[in-house]
Symmetry: C2
Subunit: 616 residues, 2 copies
């Protein structure tokens, strides 16, 4: 038996692999989740990986069936069928990964030259005496400015309040944390300079603890947005505030409490303290941005849907109730419009889309989906009300992408092959599973292009006067209720996917582009990372472009927040991006309704001037 070194990218997980162990088995042993619906038999074709370097076993007949000769030439293989015969570097594409979303984002670490706005300086002060009775803060600023060629002129009031006793207990040695011309925190030397990047989603909140000195992510964690108790979607939260303005403070406190807990968990994980967090960057959609800052939201809900503020903001963490270093700031990246927030700016920043050559589409799929078309340096953006179906909302057996959710699915004759998150018995079906299900139902002819369910399959039944397709039966669940896709679920998904396709189409039309001209489609967001692009094309959600024109980039908004956290010039770039975006209000587009109605059809089709052109 020989052992080889295998490097799984982009997650960066490395380990040894025996010569008689498949890449799939090795990956699983190492904790790299690769999707496998057929259990490693080579029949489901879901465990595609690309061999970047090294030599491997010859393709099996299953692989020859699953992969084109061009794909084989490019190194594409099925992980369950392939064995190493040397050290290898293997790329696991996003569509083959089963790892929970919040860990997913770690794979996309982007190296950036750290230029933090906050820096720490070591100081040794001469102690005061009757002949040198300078005030403590004045002494500190003078020494700091002299020794480090700075021009600091102020000390944050909360830092001032501890300065005198601490300097004495630290024997006049300390670390001063500086932001622009202000000393915002004091600590013994040395202490890490931590930053917190937050992607504040309507449903989920992702937090990243970052070392500001080198830009490394030290810990990452996702939590549910605790505001969900006031409404799953943002409009119901806004409505609840309009009806009772006092709720604004309650909602703000809910999310801030959640963030404090998240920050505390992240710090605990690496043995740090929240008082060592010296800067935070928060991105979110415009409504979440406003709810977080306790800004008024009524004007967001009514035409012309105007934010209270779009430009970037810096605010003291204490003014928001966040527990960080004494005088630390929270930076909020700029919003674009009422329904296109700082999270979209962060995504454009992370993907460096502004320098794309040729028409590029960036899609941030969520309860609200933002779509940007970038062409010759111009950025045009629309917002589509895609609704909660992709988060499992309004779907009978829908659930969020948590343990036990069916995330991949294939209909093989009468049996259903599926993959659940964490490989545990199925609990429900999440967004990517629903898209797969709809595509499979269409491909095997159970639903037609109008989305109507037929009566031609043993797993179809009528329950409470509604057609439903059984994914997991009561028997298969040991007597628990079945997991099904109902006619109504199909309708919900049709509305959701039509909204996105309409957004793409109207953007293209407005800028005089055709679908075929699109050079690249970037799909961001937690859900977008897990979606099977083929399935999404099959149901008419995405245009029928070659698969290699799609790139699933994970939580790019979180990455963008991290970039802005560690780099001042990235922050400036974000402001530039936001101010360059041309926003189009979708509902005002002349052919919005007709396009939407066309886009609700199921099947692979091109769209041209709002008309559907079916293809093979």
């Amino acid at each position: 038996m020989t052992l080889y070194q295998i490097d799984f990218e982009p997650v960066g997980r490395r380990g040894e692999c025996r010569d008689n162990e498949s890449f799939l088995a090795c990956a699983r042993r190492l904790g790299v989740g690769i999707i496998s619906l057929c259990g490693g038999k080579g029949t489901c074709h879901s465990c595609k990986v690309q061999i970047l370097t090294g030599n491997v076993s010859q393709p099996t007949s299953n692989e020859l069936e699953a992969l084109s000769s061009q794909e084989l030439k490019d190194g594409w293989r099925l992980a369950c069928q392939t064995y190493p015969i040397s050290d290898c570097k293997v790329s696991v594409p996003a569509e083959s990964v089963t790892t929970p979303q919040r860990i997913q984002v770690e794979g996309l670490e982007i190296t950036v030259h750290p230029e933090p706005l906050v820096r720490a300086y070591r100081l040794q002060l001469p102690p005061p005496s009757l002949s040198d009775p300078r005030a403590d803060a004045d002494r500190l600023l003078q020494v700091l400015n002299q020794q480090h060629q700075l021009h600091c002129s102020q000390v944050d009031i909360d830092a001032l309040r501890i300065l005198s006793p601490r300097l004495r207990s630290w024997n006049w040695q300390c670390q001063a944390t500086v932001r622009n011309d202000e000393v915002i925190a004091l600590s013994p030397w040395p202490r890490p300079q931590l930053g917190l990047a937050i992607d504040l989603g309507t449903t989920k909140i992702a937090g990243y603890l970052v070392d500001l000195s080198d830009g490394r992510t030290l810990a990452a964690k996702g939590i549910m947005n605790p505001q969900i108790s006031y409404g799953e979607d943002i409009i119901s939260r806004i409505t609840s505030i309009i009806d009772s303005p006092a709720k604004s403070a309650k909602l703000q406190k809910l999310v801030v409490d959640g963030l404090n807990e998240l920050a505390n968990d992240l710090c605990t994980e690496v043995g740090a303290k929240t008082a060592e967090i010296v800067e935070a960057v928060v991105v979110g959609n415009t409504a979440m941005h406003h709810l977080f800052l306790s800004l008024p939201v009524r004007q967001l809900a009514y035409s012309p849907f105007v934010p209270a503020v779009s430009r970037a903001l810096d605010t003291k963490a204490r003014d928001l109730g966040l527990h960080m270093a004494s005088g630390a700031y929270v930076h909020l990246l700029p919003n674009i419009a009422g329904f296109v927030g700082a999270d979209h700016v962060a995504m454009l920043l992370a993907t460096e889309l502004w320098q794309a050559e040729g028409p590029t589409v960036a899609i941030d799929i969520g309860t609200n989906t933002e779509v940007s078309l970038v062409n010759s340096g111009e950025i045009t953006t629309v917002s589509c009300a895609s609704g909660p179906a992709f988060e499992g909302g309004h779907i009978k057996d829908g659930m969020r992408a948590a343990s036990g959710a069916i995330e991949r699915l294939r209909i093989a004759n009468d049996s259903i092959q599926y993959q659940t998150i964490d490989d545990v018995p199925p609990v429900g079906i999440c967004g990517s599973g629903i898209v797969d299900a709809m595509a499979q139902l269409y491909l095997v002819g159970i639903i037609d292009k109008h989305g109507r369910m037929k009566d031609n399959h043993p797993r179809l039944r009528t329950h409470k006067k509604q057609r439903q397709f059984v994914l997991v039966s009561e028997e298969e669940r040991d007597g628990r209720s079945a997991i099904v896709i109902t006619q109504q679920d199909v309708r919900e998904l049709q509305l959701a996917k039509a909204a996105i396709r309409t957004g793409i189409q109207i953007l293209l039309e407005t800028k005089g582009c055709s679908e075929e001209e699109i050079k690249l489609v970037i799909i961001a967001g937690a859900f977008g990372t897990y979606i099977n692009v083929s399935s999404a094309i099959t149901i008419g959600m995405l245009p029928p472009l070659p698969l290699d024109r799609f790139r699933q980039v994970g939580n790019a908004a979180g990455i963008g927040a991290k970039l802005a956290l560690v780099s001042g010039s990235k922050r400036a770039k974000a402001q530039k991006i936001a101010s360059r975006v041309h926003y189009i209000e979708l509902a005002t587009a002349p052919n919005f309704m007709s396009t939407f109605s066309q886009a609700s059809y199921i099947g692979r089709y091109r769209m041209r001037r709002g008309k559907r052109e079916e293809i093979g």
Copy 2:
């Protein structure tokens, strides 16, 4: 009967005077308090005024006795003996004024070119539409910067929180209040731009409501410092915090609550609201400065007596709990040292002493007395622990300068002539009365130069084994307890006045000046305004210089705070003054103890190299 227009300066009160009405009677009718101990008989010589313009009656025999020919030539007269025979302008010197201190300061209004750091701008915004959906704050900043050639880049977070609904209810017209690059408040147009200047004394707090557009004082008011319940002097307050650190927050809240009430009263007086106060300037001694900001004070109490911070500070009013406009700032003028605070800087600023020609001494008398010597552009400062005697503290029948306090006093044979504040029956004796009493007791030979009470006067008696001199007897008070000066009171005052004389002497010695060389002695502070300089010289508290070398300037610290409030260049000047001051720790001066012991003698004397030289 003819009526003349009389203008009493510097209080600026004008009114008509009949040709048969004395200036004293007219002044009283108009509410200008002029001291008169003899009841207008021309015998006490305390109602001296100076006729600046106009013609008056010939001097009476009383006046010829009371005033030198030079004084008469200079227009000096007794107000009770003089009648107008044309319109007149009359100057009432500080030593002849009986008006309560807090109103006194109004007389010293200094005209300064207003250069406020905070300005209001009128805006008319285009309402948003689907074709112009700019965010509210971005729209406001863009219009503001365009129309007024500004470079504002931020809106205070609390102002942001009301911006959207207010702009809509004001129909897109508003007034934006700008400080540096920040919009700190929004209001309908037009609204006054009010400023608040605060002199935060250990015992008293003076507040001034100022119109920032023209620098006018709209209202002024004094209150007692509510921290007094934690100790009359600053050291007992500091000690109470060192013993129980939680008290720091309590003391801070006490003073902030007091200031909020004071600001509210001032606003109510002129029909304004505290939300219209867009900037505040606070001066106080270093300890009060620290207690107000909740800064640590332990290091102030122990050698080398170091402040937490000396340089000027700007802090959001909300961070201190002050009720002002949404994003308003409080500016704190710089401190000089542990016992020389921003109030002394404000006094130096108000008196423009830095440009004095020849040696000038500035004295700020209080529980702690600061003395500065200004000579050829050099400022040297000491701090003297003069104690609470001048505020009536530690004096048997002492009281603060409030209604019923004996503030002037003369011993005429067996009877006592006195003047009380508000001309009501006597209640006790305040600082200026105590200095008068000691001078009179010395002049009539009841105490000797060592401060020992003899037994040679019908009003002297022994009570509880202690000598006391009866100012107002039980009979004269209709059976209530007598008002007396005890031997112990004389000792207390000796310590207090010796501290001040020592400070002056050591300053002069350090800089190689003699007392005779002093060109000008400026006496500031509420008590210093009312003190009879002659009495102060008689008891050896002040050097025996000609009276015209003394100037009593009232609450110059408050005036300095007002100057810094309305003028950015005055603020810069204050920082320059503070950084130029050379502070001397009095207790470290080599001949401190011997000088102090010499300075406790009573009588008119010069001091040279720490030695007393008695004069006539």
